[in-house]
């Protein structure tokens, strides 16, 4: 048992104890005091005590004694150490990077072993906490746990496929260190210093104060890696043929000359071919297609392999494609090409077309049976009913495909409400122009990056309506730079606007092979979106709002290890996606079960095995401190807890209150006795 007698808190406490004692003694009157009138005839006659102090009132003495003991104990409590206690010299937080990139060359396993040996060899004066860095960083072992437990928990960690950012892990570590006892506070990062992990949070204000950060040395700037990601499968209808267009992004770093790509669909290998990487850019799109029945649900995996690959965990990507569900489209157009393209003869099985007669728009308004998508030409917007109909589709979250064939004052005004502005004609840009630029990553145009479906650049457009919008995204441009096709993202429903109508005098597209696929893709994307995506990242928490009227009661996720059920509460679903990439079955249980296949794939960022030596972010996060926060008062061999930890000790307060009550009781007692005397 030892006391830190020189610590300011203790001295302050001693002063606090001394003041009431001093006042008490000062106010105390000798029990044999006589107030006398003729003291002038007396001499001061002190005499030695012949007998020791006599306790006249044992109870009063005990109360005083207990009060003083309680006061001393209260102030000394935070510094009181039992036998076997020890001084914490350093508090250390290990951040163990368990993202996918650490699987390269067995980095995670190596770090884990290193960490367990460090914990095993650490003395009692070292406080250790372990944080696992994943999508959501978590404390594996806190400061309150002993080293054996921390070591065991660290040993049990398994490599993950998740993507994680350093910032939340550092924030969590900083929070742990703020409440630690160590004289020195340190964060040790066990990571590969992946470049994109550090560069994510550069613009964060400093928050690390008086904390030392130690990062490992990066042995190399990058590693050879082969990976595949961004798998996309789309159905394309070319005449009678129903195709599946598949694309995946293959990335190769380092000296990898050749890769083998294997495609498996519904557990059947449909492709196995070698791809030469020598003449390919570092990242390229691998594309293929095959015929598949529209009613067939597809799920598959693309695997890639090559020599000298540092990380095998990112060599496969999973995808799923639900069967085609026939949509309903309402058409209010004059274009014969469009009407023909959407006729049941061509779109049977895909689209159920409902042609609205111009004279019956009002009647259409009265019916509540809206289609999923409305195709409308701008000339019909002269009619107030047509405008109402379009507005109803938009506000109800349905899709609209608006083709601008004619502009009037009324049309201009209405289009302005939709977020578009009609510009006056420009003679320099008059005449016909070819399509030149397109948004290749957009699902409508993504298949056309492949020449298998025809060259969309051959399409000509003549004198399109000049449109401008601040709310819409331009997806297609002419070779004169005029935007021709927009998607408005500000409305509840999806709105596609083309600056031309599908008439021969305005465009050659209706006679081009890409027309039907384009129209189908355009309508498919204009449909109210499916709230359930099919692709996720490992370990992410997916929150889906099904609406309070949803009949779905629970969602069951089938994993190789078993079933995991998530209840739908107040129309909201919260689902924890499995940590391992793969294909999983998801069943929505309600009145009738709906089954979906979801694909879980690692983040492609984790495949970028480029590392940094001196991360700038770390310097930005650290606060410049004028004095070391870890400094302690001179002469102290102990590390006393900070003031907040003293306040948090209930026993301290109890002792203090007991002492004060004791003193108050003693005061009243003495006062009562004096009064009686």
């Amino acid at each position: 048992m030892s006391f830190s007698l020189l610590h300011p808190f203790f001295l302050l406490g001693a002063l606090g104890v001394a003041v009431p004692i001093y006042l008490h003694l000062k106010r105390r009157e000798p029990h044999n005091l006589i107030r006398f009138s003729a003291v002038r005839f007396l001499d001061d006659n002190p005499h030695p005590r012949k007998s020791p102090w006599r306790l006249r009132d044992i109870l009063l003495f005990l109360v005083r004694l207990c009060s003083l003991l309680a006061l001393i104990a209260a102030f000394a409590w935070p510094y009181l150490r039992e036998e076997g206690s020890f001084v914490v010299k350093e508090s250390r937080v290990y951040i163990l990077d368990n993202t996918l990139s650490r699987q390269a060359e067995g980095g995670f396993v190596r770090d884990r072993e290193q960490l367990t040996s460090l914990i095993r060899g650490a003395g009692r004066e070292l406080q250790i906490a372990v944080i696992e860095l994943k999508t959501q960083p978590s404390v594996i072992a806190g400061f309150s746990e002993n080293h054996e437990a921390a070591e065991q928990k660290t040993k049990n960690l398994q490599p993950s496929y998740q993507r994680g950012s350093f910032l939340p892990a550092f924030r969590l570590a900083n929070t742990l260190l703020q409440n630690s006892l160590g004289e020195k506070k340190r964060i040790i990062l066990l990571t590969d210093n992946q470049e994109n992990q550090w560069s994510e949070n550069l613009n964060v204000p400093p928050f690390l104060k008086d904390v030392e950060v130690e990062i490992p040395k990066t042995p190399h700037r990058n590693l050879p890696n082969l990976s595949v990601a961004e798998a996309k499968a789309q159905r394309i209808f070319l005449g009678e043929k129903a195709l599946v267009n598949f694309t995946a992004e293959i990335t190769h770093q380092g000296k990898i000359a050749e890769a083998t790509v294997i495609l498996r669909i519904n557990d059947q290998e449909v492709m196995n071919k070698k791809v030469s990487l020598a003449d390919k850019p570092e990242r390229f799109v691998f594309q293929t297609q095959w015929e598949a029945s529209p009613s067939l649900a597809l799920s598959g995996v693309v695997e890639i392999s090559g020599e000298d690959d540092s990380m095998a965990a990112d060599n496969s990507v999973y995808f799923s494609l639900p069967p085609v569900q026939e949509g309903k489209v309402a058409v209010l157009c004059q274009s014969q090409f469009l009407r023909l393209a959407l006729s049941p003869e061509i779109m049977r099985g895909h689209w159920d077309t409902h042609f609205i007669e111009p004279s019956k728009i009002a009647a259409e308004l009265e019916t509540a049976n809206d289609a999923e998508v409305l195709c409308i030409e701008s000339s019909y917007l002269q009619s107030a009913d047509a405008r109402k109909l379009l507005w109803r589709y938009i506000t109800n979250g349905r899709g609209v495909f608006l083709m601008m064939n004619r502009v009037t004052a009324v049309t201009k005004g209405f289009v302005k409400e939709l977020g578009f502005e009609c510009l006056p004609e420009d003679s320099s840009k008059a005449g016909s122009a070819n399509l030149q630029y397109l948004f290749a990553n957009h699902p409508v145009f993504h298949p056309f990056t492949s020449p298998d479906y025809g060259n969309i650049m051959e399409v000509k457009v003549t004198d399109p309506i000049r449109l401008r919008s601040t709310q819409a995204v331009s997806l297609l441009f002419s070779d004169k730079g005029e935007p021709l096709f927009f998607q408005n993202v500000k409305q509840p429903g999806k709105l596609f606007v083309s600056a031309f109508a599908f008439e021969r005098n305005q465009t050659s597209w209706p006679v081009h092979p890409t027309f039907i696929p384009f129209l189908d893709l355009c309508l498919q994307n204009a449909r109210p979106s499916d709230p359930m995506p099919t692709s996720f990242e490992p370990g992410e928490v997916f929150i889906q709002n099904l609406g309070t009227n949803s009949l779905v009661r629970e969602v069951v996720l089938k994993t190789p290890t078993g079933m995991r059920s998530s209840a739908v509460l107040h129309g909201k679903l919260q689902l924890l996606i499995p940590e391992k990439p793969g294909l999983y079955s998801l069943t929505y249980r309600g009145v009738s079960d709906i089954e979906r296949i979801i694909a879980v794939n690692a983040s492609p960022k984790e495949s970028q095995l480029r590392f940094t030596v001196k991360p700038d972010a770390l310097q930005a996060w650290q606060m410049i401190s004028t004095s070391s926060g870890a400094k302690q008062t001179a002469g102290l061999d102990a590390t006393p807890p900070n003031i907040s930890s003293i306040w948090q000790q209930k026993i301290w307060w109890f002792l203090l209150v007991a002492a004060l009550c004791g003193l108050a009781l003693e005061g009243f007692w003495v006062h009562g006795r004096r009064k009686t005397a």
């Binding site: 044999n32 005091l33 005839f41 001499d43």
Partner: protein, 303 residues
């Protein structure tokens, strides 16, 4: 109380039961008067009071010859005594007057106050003018009630006496100084004090009072603890006036104390003798009637 029979002896317990200075004063005075064989109220004046039978030795000047002629009885005429003397009750209010030992029925100040109240009641009944001079312990200024014969004077004096309380530093010398300054016409000064102040300073003021023709009567109120010093154990003695403390082992200090105390009081006795000032010691554990008897005898001398 007025209808009750006068007490035949002084009882401190009865006195303690009485509330108000008025009752206490009358208790003391009436008890005293009832024990006298001769009423102190009768004297030789112009106002007839009553008759009594002639006793051999009575002055023949006071025989009522007319009554003898009518009734053939020899009777002496008695008159209400009228002195028309101005009395000043001078009360010492120094803190030492607050002392009350274990045996006293009242503190020294309380005893002096009752005594002075009783005397004032008596004197006013005699149509004498009575006033009061005392020091206000809080402010250190004198409190003065001008002498008057009016019937309301009793109440005024009693109220004033009830308001004053002992406290503060020694103030007897200052009190006498104020009395010297405030009393102009020849008066009788009735001084109530424990006289626990050096006699040298007091002597000067008493001499001046006598020089100005004032008669003085000193009622020294003491506690038996002061005159006997009965303390046995070791005690810390704190001075009531100065607050100074002395740790004393009484066994060895008692003799010295009594020696000093007696010498101190002897100085005062000699002083009073020299100045021809009647002096009476009143102990607060005894009855105050001897003091009243002294006063009556001295008053007769004033006649």
């Amino acid at each position: 109380m007025e209808n009750t029979a006068p007490p035949t002896r002084f009882d401190p317990k009865v006195l303690a039961c009485l509330e108000g200075l008025d009752f206490k004063a009358r208790y003391v005075m009436e008890g005293f008067l009832s024990g006298l064989h001769e009423s102190p109220f009768h004297g030789y004046s112009v106002e007839f009071s009553d008759y009594r039978n002639y006793q051999p030795g009575d002055d023949l000047r006071h025989l009522d010859w007319k009554l003898y002629g009518r009734t053939d009885r020899l009777c002496i005429k008695r008159y209400m005594q009228e002195t028309n003397v101005r009395f000043y009750l001078v009360c010492d209010t120094s803190a030492s007057m607050a002392y009350k030992g274990s045996r006293g029925w009242e503190s020294k100040f309380g005893c002096a106050r009752i005594l002075s109240a009783a005397l004032s009641w008596f004197l006013l009944k005699q149509n004498d003018a009575v006033g009061l001079i005392a020091m206000d312990a809080a402010s250190g200024l004198p409190r003065l009630v001008r002498p008057s014969q009016r019937s309301t004077q009793t109440g005024l004096l009693l109220r004033e006496m009830e308001q004053i309380a002992p406290g503060g530093n020694p103030s007897l010398a200052a009190l006498l100084g104020h009395a010297l300054r405030l009393v102009h016409r020849r008066s009788v000064i009735l001084l109530f004090s424990d006289l626990l102040e050096p006699s040298a300073e007091i002597e000067q003021y008493l001499k001046q009072l006598r020089f100005h023709g004032h008669e003085c009567i000193v009622f020294q109120t003491l506690d038996p603890d002061e005159s006997e010093f009965p303390f046995a154990d070791s005690h810390v003695f704190e001075d009531l006036e100065t607050g100074s403390r002395h740790q004393v082992l009484p066994g060895s200090a008692r003799d010295k104390y009594l020696q000093r105390f007696n010498a101190f009081m002897e100085d005062y006795r000699q002083l009073f003798q020299r100045l021809e000032i009647p002096h009476c010691t009143v102990f607060n554990h005894q009855d105050p009637w001897p003091a009243l008897a002294l006063f009556l005898s001295e008053r007769r001398k004033l006649q």
